[in-house]
């Protein structure tokens, strides 16, 4: 009797997981469909919307690029050069050295000829780590370097927000390389709708193994190893198409820390980034949604698909595992912290669509992926499901996911087509397969570990990213 009940439960669970996989992959396809509508608009607009008009607009808002750096001596100089090479009429670059123990500051001092200056901090956003010194560059106008005690990325960025003197704040990772016109693109929503747009995010792509010259990515090709290659496809599907789709719906919940633009007055008003949350970027966006909806203030958060921030992705499973555990835990914390918004009509599409989606199809996905696969295996073992069911399950979980990934490649090909070589195309298609066989299951386990860490409130695992670096062709700093 009990055995029958258990087996019935097993079969029911198997069918449930099968339906879940169909639903999750269909939801990806829907997001891709929404992204296509946005891309069409973007492409259509491109010929008549010259960036030169934005560049020449005297009313374009000033932008401060904030880079929080902790032990980034390997890539900091090139990253700062890239930021100084950005084409934008009014830009300041603020690097916050968060108590690095390596030669990050020494390298900056050496290359950019830094000189200590007296600077009174407004102190509008409290910070954990004391600011020790502020420097300005003698050779690069607009570059400010802040040396502070270690307090974490969010704390460093808060100091940057406090010290910056621009209307908009652009947060980038210290290892990010922005396309030269990236700011002109990502500022566009603020120009188009200055009253409502409070934040915008740009797309993040993978820089591994590419050549960077004078702070610019000069040869775009697929990475040489499979782990980053798979992440190229993953970033394409999730970051480019997924977030474009969410932006279209009006429920964009994540603006990547590697490239996001925010109104400074709002950051000051809301007290900056939360230093106690792992996913501080997502938490900030959620807090903006939460507060502005609560106060019934009209606003928009927009994702822009064209500007690119190039970032280095993990190329070892150890680093990748750490990253995915952190992301999963961060998402859990954010959803928990803002649980009052969940299914609450007051919070519009974010509360009614975005949050439930992220809970069911992002946070809980690894749970169902791991236990679903186990349940089907058990079902086969006990003979309550047959091989035909197992095949159907594999098609729903893996086959359908491959369709989604290759669809993402197709959309990239007809829209931005950044990877021009035929060899890159072959690698990308292969990566779309491998992503769903092995890689996805591994990341599901790591995400599950992150979720478990969040549930039991374990000590946070801070993200130390071991960098291989990209190929840098050195150039003299522009004097």
């Amino acid at each position: 009797m009990i055995r029958d009940a258990v087996l019935w439960l097993l079969v029911t669970f198997d069918w449930f997981v099968l339906a879940y996989f169909l639903a999750i992959n269909t939801s990806y396809l829907v997001l891709i469909g929404l992204a296509i509508v946005s891309f069409r608009h973007h492409m259509r607009r491109a010929p008549s919307a010259s960036l030169e008009d934005t560049y020449a607009n005297p009313l374009a808002p000033s932008v401060a690029i904030l880079m929080a750096a902790y032990n980034e001596e390997a890539g900091i100089v090139e990253a700062v050069r890239a930021m100084l090479a950005i084409r934008y009429p009014a830009v300041e670059v603020v690097v916050i050295d968060d108590g690095s123990t390596d030669g990050t500051l020494a390298k900056l001092e050496d290359v950019f000829d830094l000189v200590a200056v007296a600077r009174v901090l407004p102190g509008r956003i409290p910070s954990k780590g004391r600011v020790e010194q502020v420097f300005e560059s003698r050779v690069a106008e607009g570059l400010v370097v802040v040396r502070k005690e270690n307090g974490g990325r969010a704390d460093a960025l808060n100091v940057g927000v406090d010290i910056a003197r621009s209307s908009l704040i652009c947060m980038v990772d210290a290892d990010s390389i922005l396309d030269p016109d990236a700011l002109l693109h990502v500022v566009q929503p603020f120009l188009d709708d200055p009253e409502k747009v409070v934040a915008s995010g740009g797309v993040v792509r993978v820089v591994n193994d590419k050549t960077v010259r004078g702070g610019r990515v000069v040869d775009i090709h697929m990475p040489y190893t499979w782990l980053p290659r798979i992440q190229v496809v993953e970033y394409l599907r999730s970051f480019l198409l997924g977030r474009t789709g969410w932006s279209r719906v009006g429920a964009l919940m994540i603006v990547s820390g590697a490239f996001g633009l925010f109104r400074r007055d709002l950051l000051v008003e809301f007290g900056g980034l939360d230093v106690d949350t792992i996913g501080e970027d997502a938490e900030l966006v959620m807090r903006i949604h939460h507060e502005l909806r609560k106060q019934r203030r009209p606003y928009r958060i927009v994702f822009v698909s064209e500007p690119v921030s190039w970032t280095e992705v993990p190329d070892t499973t150890t680093v990748l595992a750490r990253q995915r555990r952190r992301w999963s835990r961060g998402l859990a914390e954010v959803l928990w912290k803002h649980r009052a918004m969940m299914l609450n009509p007051r919070y519009g599409r974010v509360g009614l669509i975005g949050m439930p989606y992220y809970l069911v199809f992002e946070l809980l996905a690894p749970l169902l992926e791991v236990f679903g696969a186990l349940a089907v295996a058990l079902g086969l073992w006990f003979g309550v499901v047959n091989v035909e069911f197992a095949l159907l399950f594999a098609m729903a979980a893996i086959g359908y996911a491959v369709i989604v990934s290759v669809t993402a490649l197709a959309v990239e090909e007809i829209s931005f087509h950044r990877y021009e070589n035929w060899a890159d195309l072959r690698v990308a298609v292969a990566a779309a397969f491998f992503e769903n066989i092995g890689y996805r299951q591994l990341t599901a386990i790591w995400r599950l570990q992150g979720l478990w860490a969040a549930v039991r409130g374990a000590t946070p695992e801070w993200g130390v990213m071991t960098r291989s670096g990209f190929n840098v062709v050195s150039a003299e700093v522009r004097r």
Binding site: V11, P58, G399
Partner: protein, 365 residues
Amino acid sequence: MSFVVPAFVVLYVVASVVLALVMFVAVARWVRLARRRRTERVVAPLRPLLIRLAAADEVDQEAFGALASLPEKQWRVIEPRVFRLLDKVRGLAATAIEGLLVSRGAVTTSVIGARSPSPVKRANAIVRLAALRQREQAGLIEQMLRDADEDVRRAAAIALGKIGRAESVRPLLESVPARRSVSPLVVGDALVRIGHPAVADLIAALSWGCPWQRQLAAEALGRIGTTVAEEALAAAAAGDESENVRAAAARALRKAGTWYAAGPLLDIAKSDPCIRVRCEAILALSEHSGAPVVEPLEIMLGDLEYDIASVAALALTRMGLPGREVLERAAAGNDHWAASHAMEALMAADLDEQLGRRALRRAPA
């Protein structure tokens, strides 16, 4: 467990869909690359002619003639490049390229395009009419400010700025609060581009009903930098109900003000309820007023509001020797807050002088 659709059928369907998608990607790439090669084949031999036309001191008749007599099929391929080139050149070269485009019927096709049902074609046509500086078509473009498509409206506003006709000021400003509105920042840019011919209408707009219109008028007057508007701007800075308008008007007085504005600006700097307006007034004061306002700025250096103290210090660095003396005195004084701001400003000014930097430092946003 049995299924209506056997699993292997699903497997075949999935495999077929994946294969079809991969084929689609490959074909799309092949078509794109083939199209690019075909275009390059047409453009490559014509590129030297374009360079000759753009680089010559006088009109290169041979290049002009060769391009003007190109077969229609080749011209269609090269025309977008000619327009892009027109954006990059000035003077005689621009006149020659404009002449070439007009001789190839670009105006007529653009006017037709502006009436197309496709918003893409309408927007592109407007961009082309603006590139050709077609003042005669300004009326048509002004109508496009009310177009159903927002990209067309935006293109029309930018085009009117480039054409630079004074009569466009009113329709541009009216497009801001309209149901089918144009971004105020795009309109502001267009108004600045129109420049001095726009001044009279902009002064009148300082008393219009919509705050955005008044703010844009003030911003544009400031960027144009005409002292004719000084009195109206001073009145707006002192008395407008919107703090955005007051701030814009005070900012405008940096360039559009004279000593006349010092009195009203000082009052605003001391007593406006909005910090941002006070900051703008302080910075404007530093541009025109000289020694008489040094003393009030010295007092503001000790203001507990960070922005006021910081901006007062910045303003003092711009006021020459009297300002520097005040800062040095404050830096050595007992008021720690004022001394910190004074030291910051002095160090920054010294650094700028050392490096020969002439651009003004940024005040807190």
